[in-house]
């Protein structure tokens, strides 16, 4: 067993990767689903084991491929930060997979279903890979693995507009990835290494002579990743992608893809650039702050007037990503912890919301607000779960969202920015409006003809939804995993001890 323990970092990637290969050879959707289910079920155990090991030993786990020692070979390195994100991604994978069965069976043609699961597993592999790798170029490879599979997942949506949306995302995603790799290239020219830890050590001394390429690299990488994480105003691909992708893909991506991109941003900011360019020496913080606030307000306003419920939630995602980047911009311990807490909480809540909406679409075939009127009477449990997760988005105390907002507001107060506290809570008020609008439509209007004979979705879809809605409340009370770990991570990111010390 001890040897298996040793190989956990690579197994984290191999399990879904082999799953993807196996599903590619199957023709039956059910078999493909079963393979995906097994792979997705194993992942969280690996992530949890890794995170527990890191927290108990206080040391990062380093795993080297073959005989090539780091920094020459590719190194997988798990510290608190990526251990936390790995767990988040694989947990979302775990709760998503029971939901997938019925939803995919309905939305995807039967001969494409095994293909769909292949893409899902590749996407999971890519996302986990970005998190776990300790190598800047390897991260690019995984970024592309996840992106290409995501384009396919979106393109498999039922409406023809899914193709346009996927293409739009492909163009923007490719620009993002290219910017990232340009940045990596510049850094490689300067330092001659791609390993995160090695980079961190070399980039500081290189700074006095080669400040220009390093700053250019930082700029390219920041913009490239900001495209992937849908930082306002680089978010335009997201609403359509979320609206026209198959319901299951939307829910899974909303919970994972943007979060992983944010992880990568944190990694480059705090792991190696911080040694060369202290966070405050360039106006990164101010820039991020303004864009985050713009996201929180502009996207929330757009969500209020959105007629398609999926697009409403998508714009809400853009706004919520604004909260996360706001915490990064605050760049103090509690604000950064708030950012990490909200990454986790938002993943849970937004996946729940898309599950609920996906269940409504599953039964009714419509996602327009007006067509969903009266849905609260036809699908009471689904709608109630939507409301609970919606209250979480608003940040009502007793839900996960409250914890996030508390941390962020405390982070703002630490800077003495009481005005920012007011802006944070004001934008929550916009969430009251768009969530409230859905509630009014769902409960106060007579059921429309579109939903006349709809009822609760099958248990396999309902159970994951209820679990996530319950988690929204649970995480409002038990914050050891979110707040506790996030504060440790923030401490460790701000301490300047890169990746937990030297090798």
């Amino acid at each position: 067993m001890s040897s298996l323990q040793e190989h956990l970092p690579i197994l984290q990637i191999l399990v879904p990767l082999f799953g993807a290969i196996l599903t590619a050879f199957t023709r039956s959707g059910t078999t493909a689903w079963a393979i995906a289910a097994v792979s997705s079920a194993i992942s969280p155990f690996i992530s949890a084991a890794l995170l527990i090991k890191v927290t108990t030993t206080g040391q990062p786990i380093s795993y080297v491929m073959g005989p090539w020692a780091a920094p020459w070979g590719i190194e997988y390195r798990v510290d608190l930060l990526n251990g936390f994100i790995l767990l988040l991604v694989s947990l979302i994978g775990l709760v998503s997979i029971p939901y997938a069965r019925k939803s995919v069976a309905q939305e995807i043609d039967s001969h494409k279903q095994s293909w769909f699961y292949t893409m899902y597993l590749l996407c999971l592999t890519g996302l986990l890979g970005i998190c776990i790798t300790g190598d800047a170029f390897n991260a690019f490879v995984f970024l592309e693995v996840s992106s290409l599979s995501t384009y396919t997942l979106i393109a498999l949506g039922r409406q023809r507009r899914a193709l346009v949306s996927a293409y739009q995302y492909l163009v923007m995603g490719t620009i993002g990835a290219t910017f990232y790799i340009i940045g990596v290239g510049l850094i490689y020219i300067v330092t001659g290494t791609l390993n995160f830890v090695d980079l961190a050590a070399r980039i500081g001394p290189a700074m006095p002579e080669l400040s220009r390429p390093i700053i250019a690299a930082l700029a390219f990488m920041t913009v490239g990743i900001s495209l992937k994480l849908a930082l306002f105003p680089l978010h335009v691909w997201l609403p359509n992608a979320y609206a026209f992708a198959p319901s299951f893909a939307t829910a899974f991506l909303a919970g994972t893809a943007t979060k992983v991109a944010i992880y990568l941003l944190l990694r480059i900011f705090y792991t190696f650039f911080s040694n060369a360019i202290p966070f405050y020496s360039l106006p990164i913080s101010e820039f991020l702050l303004v864009l985050s606030l713009a996201a929180m307000f502009v996207a929330s306003f757009t969500a209020i007037f959105e007629e398609n419920a999926k697009r409403m939630l998508a714009y809400s995602s853009v706004a919520q990503i604004g909260y996360i980047t706001l915490g990064i911009a605050l760049a103090n311990k509690i604000g950064l912890a708030g950012s990490l807490v909200h990454m986790f909480n938002h993943a849970i809540m937004k996946t729940a919301l898309f599950f609920a909406l996906g269940a409504m679409v599953y039964r009714t075939g419509v996602a327009r607000m007006s067509s969903l009127s009266g849905i609260g009477r036809k699908m009471p449990i689904t709608t109630a779960a939507f409301v609970v997760a919606g209250l979480g988005l608003i940040g009502v105390p007793g839900t996960a969202g409250f914890i996030s907002k508390w941390y962020l507001a405390m982070g703002a107060i630490e800077h003495g920015w009481i005005w920012l506290v007011f802006l944070i809570v004001l934008s929550s008020l916009l969430a009251v409006v768009y969530v409230g609008r859905f509630i009014e439509i769902a409960y106060f209007r007579e059921p429309s003809s579109d939903i006349a004979d709809s009822h609760e979705p099958p248990l396999s879809m309902l159970a994951p939804l209820i679990a996530l809605a319950a988690a929204t409340i649970y995480l409002g009370f038990d914050t050891r995993l979110t707040g506790g770990v996030a504060r440790q991570i923030a401490d460790f990111l701000l301490s300047g001890v890169v990746l937990g010390g030297t090798q």
């Binding site: 508390w406 405390m410 809570v425 008020l429 009251v432 409230g436 106060f444």
Partner: protein, 501 residues
């Protein structure tokens, strides 16, 4: 009954929640369903009352929950002021449940099960507000109360109800999120704690101007206290069935607001700190102005429930004013007014609902001469009115007396004058209602108009009262108004236990 006080605290919170789970199980057996409500209400009242002895003896039972944000755990702690509010909420829940049974059945209201469920959740959160040990726990319970009463306000599911619900949610959640939450966050950051502590936690930590700003955030952020200009939600919420109005006005919601302000003044700011910094000196004129303005608006309303709503806004500001006086007698007066206004106003709302149930009348002008038709109801209405005005032998006398004493103690004679003027205004807008009902002549056209309407012709003076369940509740609360005059000591004793320093 002989359980540990900490167990009792937990029981008071959990029993209504258990009831909320059980009630839907008896969806198709209304009698059993209401039995669950009554049983829960009865046991919560017993549980809360059995905390009275221990608290008087100096016990302060505490319970600690998980730490949810750095340095702040959810927690409950029973202290005298909170116990008073919990006693009011739990005792009136019994009366209100009895009344609801009569009202909801007689008016064939839809969705009665969800009504009773939301009601139980609201009571649980009211008790959590009462017993909250720190600002974060209070905020949590405060928001749960808003969310759980939203379905009650919109119960009728009409367009008006939806609009009222919108105002309700946006104003209450809005003010609490945008003003109260930043105030709590700022307090926690400045004081390093959010625990309610005798003497307050902000002494010497803020400049007077900043203190005033913070106090303003609390006063306006706690929208449930309906201090102008954040009072709009209260008249709008009148579209709800009368038992809900009673819950809003007397049992839980607005009382949660004024109670929270009082608790924050006493245990977060500390009355001495407020006195020395003078932070409340300007702010006090806002609730003082609300007392007068709301009374004047009440005079213009012909709709009975609307007039009562503005009367509530005015009366709530008595309590806020009393709190902002920041004197020991002011705190006593405010605390006592929480009790007397609750009992008095619930009587008036019960009467308004009884009149609607029996005669389907909602406008004051239609009530002339109906005293003979509903003598019991209008007698009770008179008692409630006199208590609100503050005339002996009714409970309201004491609260006005102590509020006035508190104003004198704080050297604010203008506040005394405002209290007196307001009493006159109360007489002007409330007393004519029962007076005209008993002594006014029924206009001749009214009888003819009513014959083809839904209502019967009551001009013949035949007695036609509301269902018995309603009458029992009305009788109980009117009696309460009288008893509070003759036996106020159990409340005073508790109020004197409040540690002000």
């Amino acid at each position: 009954m002989f359980a540990e006080p900490t167990t009792l605290v937990l029981l008071a919170l959990v029993i209504p929640l258990v009831a909320a789970v059980l009630i839907p199980l008896f969806n198709n057996q209304p009698n059993l369903r209401e039995a669950v409500t009554l049983l829960a209400a009865g046991s919560v009242a017993v549980v809360v009352w059995s905390l009275y002895g221990p608290v008087m003896a100096g016990a302060r039972p505490e319970l600690h929950g998980p730490e949810i944000v750095p340095g702040i755990s959810l927690g409950l702690k029973v202290e005298p002021l909170g116990l008073i509010y919990a006693l009011v909420a739990s005792t009136l829940w019994i009366v209100n449940s009895i009344y609801s049974i009569g009202y909801m059945r007689d008016n064939s209201e839809p969705r009665q099960t969800s009504f009773y469920v939301c009601f139980a959740v609201a009571i649980s959160s009211a008790i959590a507000i009462a017993f909250s040990a720190n600002l974060v726990t209070l905020f949590l319970a405060y928001e749960v109360l808003t969310v759980s009463t939203y379905p009650l306000v919109t119960h009728k599911a009409t367009d008006d109800a939806r609009k009222a619900g919108r105002k309700y949610l946006l104003l209450l959640i809005g003010t609490s999120m945008v003003l109260l939450l930043p105030a709590i966050i700022a307090t926690s950051a400045i004081a390093g704690t959010a625990e309610f502590t005798p003497g307050g936690i902000l002494a010497n930590k803020l400049a007077p101007a900043a203190m005033m700003g913070l106090l303003a955030l609390y006063v306006f952020g706690i929208g449930k206290a309906a201090v102008m200009p954040v009072h709009f939600w209260l008249p709008a919420a009148m579209v709800a069935p009368t038992p809900v109005s009673a819950l809003l006005h007397a049992v839980a919601v607005v009382k949660a607001g004024v109670f929270s302000i009082l608790k924050i003044v006493v245990y977060v700011f500390g009355i001495d700190t407020l006195q020395t910094t003078g932070a409340a000196d300007w702010l006090i004129w806002v609730p003082a102005g609300t007392i007068i303005v709301a009374s004047l608006i009440a005079m213009t309303k012909d709709n009975l429930k609307a007039r009562l709503a503005y009367s509530t806004i005015s009366q709530l500001s008595y309590i806020v004013t009393g709190a902002l006086l920041a004197t020991s007698l002011g705190v006593v007066g405010s605390g006592f007014h929480i009790v007397t206004h609750a009992v008095g106003k619930i009587t008036l709302f019960f009467c308004a609902g009884a009149i609607y149930t029996a005669l389907h009348k909602t406008e004051i002008s239609e009530l002339t001469g109906l005293g003979k038709v509903m003598p019991f109801t209008f007698a009770a209405f008179t008692i409630g009115t006199l208590s609100i005005i503050g005339l002996p032998p009714l409970g309201g006398t004491w609260s006005k007396w102590y509020l006035a004493l508190g104003a004198i103690e704080g050297h604010k004679l203008a506040i005394v004058a405002i209290l007196m003027i307001s009493s006159l205004l109360n007489i002007a807008y409330l007393l004519p209602i029962p007076f005209k009902a008993f002594f006014g002549k029924r206009p001749a056209s009214a009888g003819a108009a009513a014959t083809h309407g839904h209502a019967h012709d009551h001009a013949d003076g035949k007695i036609h009262e509301a269902p018995t369940a309603c009458l029992i509740a009305i009788g109980a609360t009117s009696l309460g108004c009288v008893l509070l005059f003759f036996y106020p000591d159990f409340v005073f004793d508790l109020l004197k236990q409040i540690p002000l320093r």
